[in-house]
Symmetry: none
Subunit: 228 residues, 2 copies
DNA sequence: ATCACATCTGAGGGAGATCTGAGCATCACG
DNA sequence: CGTGATGCTCAGATCTCCCTCAGATGTGAT
C-alpha cells in the first residue's frame, strides 16, 4: 500500500520510512504542506493513508488537514507532539481519522495505520479487477473519476462524483442522509442546510436521468438498479 | 445514530449514556459480552458503533471484540484502563477501530466516535450476499428497504417499513404497544391517538395478508411465524 | 487582483406521510 | 344476549421532508 509521509525532519522521516517499508508500505515523503498537497491530486493519487506531522514549516498542520479533506477522501493520521485534549479534538473534528501523540510506539503506530486502512474500502471489494462501475447507461471510472452516460462524457464536480460513486457502490441499497454526509464530506459538521439536496439535484440534472437516484422519504437516497 | 455501550459498571454506563444521548446518540446498554453479542444481530442491528469496555465479568474483552468482528462490520472502539502498548496493539490488531485509555476526556471520546463512524463504510462484509428476512411469501430486505410479496414489490412508507422490520426480527414474539412505539418512533411520547393502529392497518392492506400481523388484544401485535 | 466555478445557505412551496377524531366493529365476560 | 373495553376504519387536518431557485461565500487558476 502506498503511504504519504508528511514530515519536515529528514532524520525522523528516514527512520520511519525504513520501518514502514519493512512492513510492506511504499512510502512517499513530503517535507511541507505544499508538497503534500501537490502529491495528493484528486484524481486517484493511490495513497492508502497519510501520516501528517503537524509541525510543518510552511503552514499550519490543521489547515493542511482541512485542505486534504476537501481534496480527497484519503484517511489522515495526525502525528504530533501536541498532546493536549483541545488539540486532539480539534484535529479529529477537522476530519483526521486518528491522532497519535509523539513520542509514540512504532508498533502502535503500525497497528493504527492498519486499523485505519482496514476501514478504507478503496475499490477492491466492489470493483474487483474492473475499475469501472456500470449501471445501465452510466459508466463510472473510479481511478480517473470519469463518468459517461450513453458514451458521452459528463463533467462532474468533486462532490457530485463522490456522491455518485458512493451510491453506485451498492446499487439499490438505501443510504441514510447522515451516512452520505459523513462519507462524502468526511468531517464532523452537523449538516444543517439543503446542501445534500442541492448536490443530488445537480447530479440528477447532469446525468439527465432524474430517475436514477431515488429519494427515499425520511431516510435518504439510493440508486435504482439498472433493469438487468 | 445508534450506539452499543458495553460496560459492566452501571454508574459509569449511566453517566456516559447521558452524555452520549445529549449528543444525539441513541444508546443501548449491554452489561456483559453475552448481552452485547445478542444485541448485535448480523442482519441490520443498526448500530453505528460499539463502545467496548474490556473489563467484563463473563468473558475476555478481546474475545468479545473478535466475535463482534466475525459477526458484523460494526466498528468497535475499545475503552479500557489497560494502558500498556502491548494491550493497545493487541486490541487494534484484533480488529478494533480505535483504542481509548481510561481515564479519558469525554470530548475526545466523542470526537473519536465521530471519526470512526465517519470513515466506516456501512456494510456487512460477512453477510455480503443476502441479508433478507423471509417469512412465507414475504421477503424483507433491510439494506434496500425493499419488501416483496410473492415476488411483487410493495411500496412501503418509512414507518410502515420500520414497523414491519421490527416485528419481522422476531416472528411469533408479541411486541407490546409501547415497545413498538418507542422503537419505531424513537421518542417516548405517550401515544394517545390511533396512530399505531392506522399504520398497522395500512401495512396489512399493502401486504394483502391481513393475517400476517396478528393483534394480541390488550398487549400488542406479532407476526405469525410462517407455516414452517 | 480578478475571474470562473464549486459549494453552501435560506426562503418558499408542494407532495406525501403522519396524525387526529368520531363512529363502528369485535371481543371477553357475565 | 347485553355491556364495556379494545381495536378498526375513514376522512380530513397537519406536519414533515424534500425540491427549486437565487444569491452568498469560498476556492483555485490566470
Amino acid at each position: 500500500m502506498r503511504l504519504l509521509l508528511v514530515e519536515d525532519d529528514n532524520h525522523v522521516a528516514a527512520a520511519l520510512s525504513a520501518v514502514l517499508a519493512r512492513h510492506g508500505f511504499q512510502v512517499t515523503h513530503a517535507r511541507s504542506g505544499e508538497e503534500a498537497l501537490q502529491a495528493l491530486v484528486p484524481e486517484g493519487d493511490g495513497f492508502g493513508v497519510v501520516l501528517l506531522d503537524l509541525g510543518l514549516p510552511d503552514q499550519d498542520g490543521y489547515e493542511v488537514c482541512g485542505k486534504i479533506r476537501k481534496r480527497t477522501g484519503t484517511p489522515v493520521i495526525m502525528v504530533t507532539a501536541r498532546a493536549d485534549v483541545r488539540s486532539r479534538i480539534h484535529g479529529l473534528n477537522l476530519g483526521a481519522d486518528d491522532y497519535v501523540v509523539k513520542p509514540y510506539d512504532t508498533g502502535e503506530l503500525l497497528a493504527r495505520i492498519h486499523a485505519v486502512s482496514r476501514r478504507t474500502v478503496h475499490e477492491d471489494p466492489v470493483t474487483g479487477g474492473e475499475s469501472a462501475l456500470l449501471l445501465g447507461p452510466v459508466r463510472i471510472e473510479l481511478p480517473t473519476r470519469q463518468v459517461s452516460v450513453d458514451g458521452a462524457v459528463v463533467q462532474l464536480t468533486r462532490k457530485e462524483f463522490d456522491l455518485l460513486a458512493l451510491l453506485a457502490q451498492r446499487p439499490g441499497v438505501v443510504f441514510r442522509r447522515e451516512q452520505i454526509i459523513s462519507e462524502v464530506w468526511r468531517t464532523s459538521w452537523e449538516g444543517t442546510g439543503r446542501t445534500l439536496e442541492v448536490h443530488v439535484a445537480s447530479l440528477r440534472a447532469k446525468l439527465r436521468l432524474p430517475a436514477l437516484i431515488e429519494t427515499v422519504r425520511g431516510v435518504g437516497y439510493r440508486l435504482v438498479a439498472p433493469a438487468a
